[in-house]
Every structure is written in C-alpha cells, then in structure tokens.
C-alpha cells in the first residue's frame, strides 16, 4: 500500500469539505492527513490529502473525487517530481543536562525553539514526511509531551531548463 499525496482544487462553497471527507468515510478510504486553505484564485480552495491504497483503490479515490460536482481538479503526486513539506510542533520534556543535547538536535535538524519554560521546550520543525518521522523518533528519548502536525503540502517542481 503506497502513500499518496493528493492535491484537490474545489469550489469554495459551504459544505464542500464534508462532501470530500464524507466520500472517504462512506467508501471506506483512509485519510492520513488533510489540510484546506484558500487557493490563489478567488472562490477556490486547495485541499491536500494524504492517503494509502493500492493502485485500484487509488484509481477509485481519484475518480470518486472527480465525480463530486464541487471538485475542479485532482492530482496525485506519487509519481510526479514535487516538493513536499509539513510543519509540526513538539513539546519536549527539557530539564537540566538534557537541555543542551536537545538544542544540539534542534540545530542538526534545522528546527526552531519557539517556546521555553524551566522544564519544557516547544520546537517547530519543517520537512517532508520522512524527515518529520525521523525527528519524532530522535526526540522520543527526551520525552514528547505533545505533538501537533499540519499535514503535508505539495507543489509540482518547476521544469529544469536543459
């Protein structure tokens, strides 16, 4: 089951989010992450959905999304050269001697400390899916008290001049 990031352009009208989400739940498809925000064009929203499935399921998801009257365009980025980023906040247990090591890890992954208290640090991290997974597993040993992620954003890479 391959991971797929879908980019969906929809008419920005009331109920459009439930049309899309309702499709996934009623047909038993998975949503791993989802984010929605206005697109460049007025009246259009951009949804980015990450999902898992084999090729037949993915084909159905794409077709079913297309069938929703409010959906303008659907793209699957699985086999397209694209940049992908996701942001997350991590609240870490940070006391005494551990603080230095936490800061060094923050440095290595080019994360940012955005909030500090005597015994906690909140860290902002940005990267693709794999990078965030790696960061989480590294910070696990300090003790993650809270974690929140935005879900992925993708954009097709510009064509390189030959």
């Amino acid at each position: 089951m391959q991971r797929h990031v879908l980019s969906v352009l929809v008419e920005n009208e009331p109920g459009v989010l439930s049309r899309v989400v309702g499709l996934f739940s009623s047909r038993g498809f998975n949503i791993d992450s989802l984010n929605v925000a206005p697109a460049l064009e007025d009246g259009v929203s951009h949804m980015t959905i990450t999902t898992y499935g084999d090729s037949m399921i993915l084909e159905q998801i794409m077709k079913q999304l297309h069938k929703i009257v409010s959906v303008i365009k659907v793209m699957d980025f699985a086999d397209v050269p694209a940049v992908e980023r996701e942001m997350m906040f991590l609240k870490i247990q940070a006391e005494g001697v551990m603080r230095g090591e936490i800061l060094r890890t923050v440095e290595i992954f080019r994360c940012k400390v955005i909030d500090v208290s005597p015994n906690e640090m909140t860290i902002e991290a940005t990267g693709d899916h794999e990078k965030l997974e790696a960061i989480i597993s590294l910070f696990q040993r300090f003790g993650i008290k809270e974690l929140i992620r935005t879900g992925s954003l993708v954009m097709r890479r510009s064509k390189r001049a030959d």
């Binding site: 008419e11 109920g15 049309r19 309702g22 037949m56 077709k63 297309h66 069938k67 009257v69 409010s70």
Partner: protein
Amino acid sequence: MECTGAYILLESLKREGVDLLFGYPGGAVIDIYDELPRHPDIRHVLVRHEQAAVHAADGYARASGKVGVCLATSGPGATNTVTGIATAYSDSIPLVVITGQVPTALIGNDAFQEVDIVGITRSCTKHNFLVKDINKLALTIRQAFFLARSGRPGPVLIDLPKDIVQAKTEFIWPEEVYMRSYNPTYKPNLNQLRRTVEELSQASRPVILAGGGVIMANASDELGMLARRLQIPVTSTLMGLGGFPVTDELSLGMVGMHGTYAANLAINHADLLLCVGARFDDRVTGKLTAFAPKARIVHIDIDPTSIRKNVAVQVPVVGDCKLALRGVLDICEAKLAEHDWAGQHADWLKTVWDWKASKPLAYHKGEHIKPQEVIEALCQLTKGDAVISTEVGQHQMWVAQFFSFTRPRTLLTSGGLGTMGFGFPAAIGAQMALPDKMVITVAGDSSLQMNIQELATSVACNLPLKVVILNNKHMGMVRQWQELFYKGNYSCTNMEAQPDFVKLAEAYGAEGYRIEKSEDLLPVLEKAFSSDKTALIDVMVEREENVYPIVPAGAALDEMLLV
C-alpha cells in the same frame, strides 16, 4: 418587475419543461402553494406521504425519460423524501427534489421542523443546494436540472428557506448553464472503440451484458443492431430488462442471483464480455473471484467510477452508451464489412442455445395458484404491451423472469436500493406520464402495505392503473432465505395479519377483486383490466413457492440452485 421566490421557482420549473409536480404542503412551503394556482401549466399531484411523492416523480422519470420533480416541506417532510432519493440515486434516475427550509435566520437554531436535509442527503444525491440568496435561485434551479439529466443522471435536491421563497427580486432566466467543475464525457475515445472492435473480432465466445445504462441512454436500437449484426448473445441485468427484447433468439434473459441457467453459464464460459451500462453489482456477479473467469472484459459506461470499481477490465470505454455502440458498429462496418460473424460464433451460439433449451425458466403447477402463472397471465392479457412497476421481493423476480419485456422503459423497479413501497407510487407517476398506456403494479402483500395510502392519490386522480397483489401472506423473499439458508427458522416473516385488501381498495374508492382459483385468473384479470378505474386484484397464491434459479449469496454464478 420584482417577483417572489415562489414565482421564480414555478416560472423556472415551467421553463425547464416541467408540467407535473408531486408534492405535499407544509409550513415552510406554504408560499409556494399559495403561488401554485397562478401557474395552471404546472399540474400538482397531491400524494399522501412525501416518500410517495419522490417515488411517483421517479416512476414518471423512468417511464418518460424526463426529469421528475417533487416538493416537500421542511423537517419531517424533507426526511420522508430520503428513501425515495436514495432509491433514485441507486438507479441513476433524474429527479429534482425541492424541500422547504426554515427561514435563513433560524437555520442552526433547532427551529420547529428544521432538519439539515442538505447534510442528510449529501451521500444519496448527485448534488444538492441550499439557496441563501434569492438572486441565485433561478441559476440554482437551472443547474439542478442540468446536473440531474446530464452525464450519469441522478437526483438533485434544492433546499429553499422560507424567507427566500418570500423575498423579491427581478427574475432573470439564465439561458446558458455552465459549471467549470462538471463536464461529463459523452463522446468515447476512438482508440478505445477500435480496441473494442479488435476484441470482438478475435472472440469466439462473446456475451453482451446490458444494464440500465442502455435504457438511460436510449441505446436499445443500437444494442439490438450490434447484437444481431455480430451475432452475439445478450444477457440483461434487472435494470437492463427491456433494453433488448427477451423474445429475441439472441436473448438469454436476466443474469445474476435469479438469472437464467443459460445467462449465468454463458457469463462463466465467455471469452469476451461486452458490458454496456452495467456496474457489476454483487447481485449480478455473485462471487467476484469466480465471475467470468475466462473472459476479457470491455466495459462501456458514462461514469468512470463504475469502471474498475469491482471488476478488472481490459478495455475501459468512458462515454454515452448510444454513441459508443454506434461507434463500434461504424468501425465494424468500415473495416470488417465482409467478416463472417455468424460463422465466427456458430459453435458458441449452438452451445448457448442448448443451455437455453435444456433448462428454461420453469415452475411446477400445483393445487394453488402459482405466482409465476399470474405473471404469465398478465403477459398474455396485455400481449406484453404494458408498463409494469414492481415492489421488491419474490414477486419482483417473478416479473423479471416471466414477463416478456421487449421495449425499454416498460419495467420500473427499484434495482439498486431494493425499496419496498416503491412500485405503487412509481406506477402513479408512470400513469401520469403515459395516460393512454396500460400501467400495472405487481406487488407483494408486504411491500404494498408500505405505501398503500397512495390508493387515495390514484383514486383522486382517476387513474386507471391496476395493482396486482401476489398474496402469499409472507414476507416471501426473506422467508425463502430462511428456508434455504437459515434452517427453516421463520423469524418474523409471517404476514397473515393483514387487511382485507379488497375491502380496503373499496374503502379508498377503488375497485377490489380477489382471485383464489386458477380458472378465475384470466376472466377476473380481464374484467379488472377493462375498467377505467383504479383496481386492486388480490391474487391468493401458493404460500411457500420459491424463486428459482437462485445463486446463494457469495456463491459463483454457476452454483445455481434450480427448480
């Protein structure tokens, strides 16, 4: 000139060609009803339950090919339409359902008779709208009709808050309708049509599987031409019956759970399956892994989601069935004009015809009237020239098996959702669409009771339609399953406590007849059919007759239990 929302609604319906509206008044739509008498071009049919309004609009649409329209009030009126909407959605029937809503200022306040019908029907409509601006009302109606009748048709709901109906604005009718996010594919890809012809020219054991899409697309003539020109046997799904005459020697009848021996065997021995406007429902395929195991599959459908949803397909063709079949025929004529199709399939046709002759649909006569006998009598009396609507259950399958459907739009049945209570109100709609046609509902005693109150509607409208009950005082299909698959544990399927249907019909002002002996069957039916009134004929049939063949749920198509 400024007009009210109610005026704009009715004027827009008129411009969409609506002459019939099935509905039931209530607080949220009272302004529409207030306006209605000033629009004599639109005839309103007052039903006795909102569910029946939707089924009647549905029957009207199935019989006429036009969009059916119905109107209900907010809250319970709206929720009562849901079963009808889901029925139409399952069978791709074009409907516009208009519901009243509480005033916009009250939406979300749990107001009296408020329900989020747009939310409730999101998964069983093709699309739905809540109109919050009167200036968008005319455009919304235009879009609703455009969506309902184009592409793969389906029901569209418009929710109209009371203040929008009362508000005033200038009426501007949008001549053009365009939705950038909705653009169905009608014209099939030429390459895919060429590949289809290539598959056909190489097949030695081809079968056509025709579904409701053939009827929707008015493609029966093209289907007939292709089958006869290429000498390919045709099987139909329940929804496809009438799309190809079952009296034709190439017809194998219905396929699937209660399909014929010949049809089910043909599917499982075919080396090519040309599926036209069908969606491989589980009642058609049986066990998926054993379905058409030797066949390459060409699938023609206007809805891309139908293709490769259940069954892997070698040649997908997205487009209108009529255009696709026409295209395939044209290529055959252009490139293979001299091809000996009959010779190519001679052995296969002989095999298929042997199957057909060796195990035709059959039943044993007995002491009591057999339900199959009744259907044969109906077919004989009407010479097959009637519109038959059914409820859901055993009687529905007997109609599908024993009535000779030869023309499209003559069988009106809830195939996808299997809605008991559909048939009788659907017949009301069909009779309204075709006032000069013989319209008959074949019902079970259980199904009929789900919308029997519509006798009042039928009598009030002076409809000559006939209701034939195959009365076995059972919920027959469930009883059959209990007998065959649940060790005879007849839990809650005995329907002996039932009204005297003859007296009930008479109480409603209809004619009532009862038939208990085989010899009375033809004369009493004939008498009832010659009446110009609504007539109910209660036929007491063998109580424990089963529908055969039957493919047990989850079994392969060739694992049929025969009579």
